[in-house]
Amino acid sequence: MTSPLISVKDLTLRFKTDEGLVTAVNNVSFDIAPGEVLGLVGESGSGKSVTAKALMMLNAENSVYDDSSHITLNVDGQDIEVLSLKRPQEQKIIRGGAISMIFQEPMASFAPAITIGEQMVEQLMIHSDMTSAKAKEISIEMLTRVGIPEPAQRFGQYAFEFSGGMRQRAMIAMALSTKPRLLIADEPTTALDVTIQAQVIDLMKDLVDEFHMSILFITHDLGVIAQTADRVAVMYLGNLVETGTVRQVINSPAHPYTRGLLNSLPKLDDLEAPLTPVPGDIPSPLDRPSGCVFHTRCVESGAIAERCRTEIPVYTSDSANHQVACHLATQGDES
């Protein structure tokens, strides 16, 4: 097995607030191999965006990383310890250099008073020593590549002159123009219509093949994950509860929360199937449940409830590298 592009180990991240320390990410570990698409799924408030932002050190000033946390980025055989990069000059490699990010709301991600072209050229010139003429040439080439018609004219336009789908394409073009090794896509299709979403997903798949980059794809939509990801990680209340290949997680989910998410999805091939919601709401991160964080909403923990309430389940892996943190699954009665 090749060494991973990025390796997150025991990441624990807390925010200092007036109410005290809030744990947003708790002991999360995962790897992303070169060329791999990892889907990160969870409800709002599960900590998926905070985890992704940690890779680029983009979390707010009041964030505190535990000493045990490690994020190792491997670029050309060299290991870089992301969390020890303190100066902006050093952080260039994780902010647009080897790692790029596309955001959910493309309107809010572009500066409204600067043309799309200027913004693309600016970041290319920051990350390389090319001339502005060369940067413009590359930018227009990238706009062509993502399927924007008349890229030379579009280059001089502002974000408000683009439609939602076009903006997201321009965002992808901008993120990819520095040829990053890892693209973080934070709900990139959530604000788009289904037909446009399908176009953007196709485009991202093509680009992964072409540039051989890895993607950390964050979404709450399991359908989008099934269509794009190689592996899936499911988060709940700051914890990773299940990780496996997309087939393992979607076809034979091992954690009750993953099963709950799948059961609450309306399925088109079975209109009669009842929608079964996960009962209750996600607890406040200020008041994390003891033991298994999911036990307050779990419908399957009846038999060994006491253990679920008191004992934190260990994150264990089966022979096929399908990892799960659940007492029930490790007891072997998941069937």
């Binding site: 099934a226 087939r247 088109l268």
Partner: protein, 329 residues
Amino acid sequence: MSDVLIAARNLSVHFPLRKLGFGERPVVRACEGINIEIEKGSFFGLVGESGSGKTTLGRAMLKAAPISHGEVVFTDGDVTYDLGTLQGDELKDYRKRSQLIFQDPYAALSPRMTVRDIIAEPLEVMGLTSGREETDARVREIAAKCRLNLEHLRRFPHAFSGGQRQRISIARALVSDPKFIVADESVAALDVSIQADVLNLLNSIQRESGITFLFISHDLSVIAHTCDFVAVMYLGQIVEAAPTRKLFSETSHPYTKALLSAIPSLDPDVRGNAQRLEGEIPSPINPPPGCRFNTRCPYAQDRCRKEVPEWRELSSKHHVACHFAEELA
């Protein structure tokens, strides 16, 4: 055959824009020539992309958007209202009989009112109860129906999660005992597990009280699960309408087909066999001539670019606006 509660006949909603230079004043044709009939006690789904005019249509049926041409007729027992000319006391009465549930439960509730006051406000404004005790009793009854605790009623909206807030919005819409509710993207802002919960609640309310729903959504899989009749909208026009099962088994309009195939499948083994639509929805100021879908339709021919397709009945209750619906089905 049950009765029709509310029907739109040849309904158009136009929004005039500011005149730019010479020539005619530009007009946004948000809805154009809409014909739908919503039967009493049905759960009518309206699906379309953003900019298709589905919200405008929903609002026109509540008399919250101007009706430019055509008519909307509401019939409930012995009252019949033509919304185009409705005013005064009759309009007030219509407001009691029809309600709206909004998309964003974070924006729809006043942060400075308690949940009790939010739910009680329609009763007080419309003068439906004769005293505070009666109001409180009614609020408690509706709150219980929407699975809100008595203790919740004293709190302010900020103390609630998205799903609970949406239940408060639903309670507020139900409190005046309406006959017709428009739910505009009411689950779009919610997580999937909470979405399932709210959909189940709406369905059980509909079954118990027989309220007629117009459920607007961009998500066909949500529509498929909750509604018994579906209309598909594109650029201000309805392109296909049929009972849910029929729409999915005998899909006839190419746009409906494209919408269906664009929904990401949950099966990782059926990737990429979807039929992809090129381009984006055109501007409703200058819709394309002929069939409005011709610029994106993979089957478009000369006739589609010239001739507006007729809104016709393909089989019982299944209407479509496409020249080639039979060949494509």
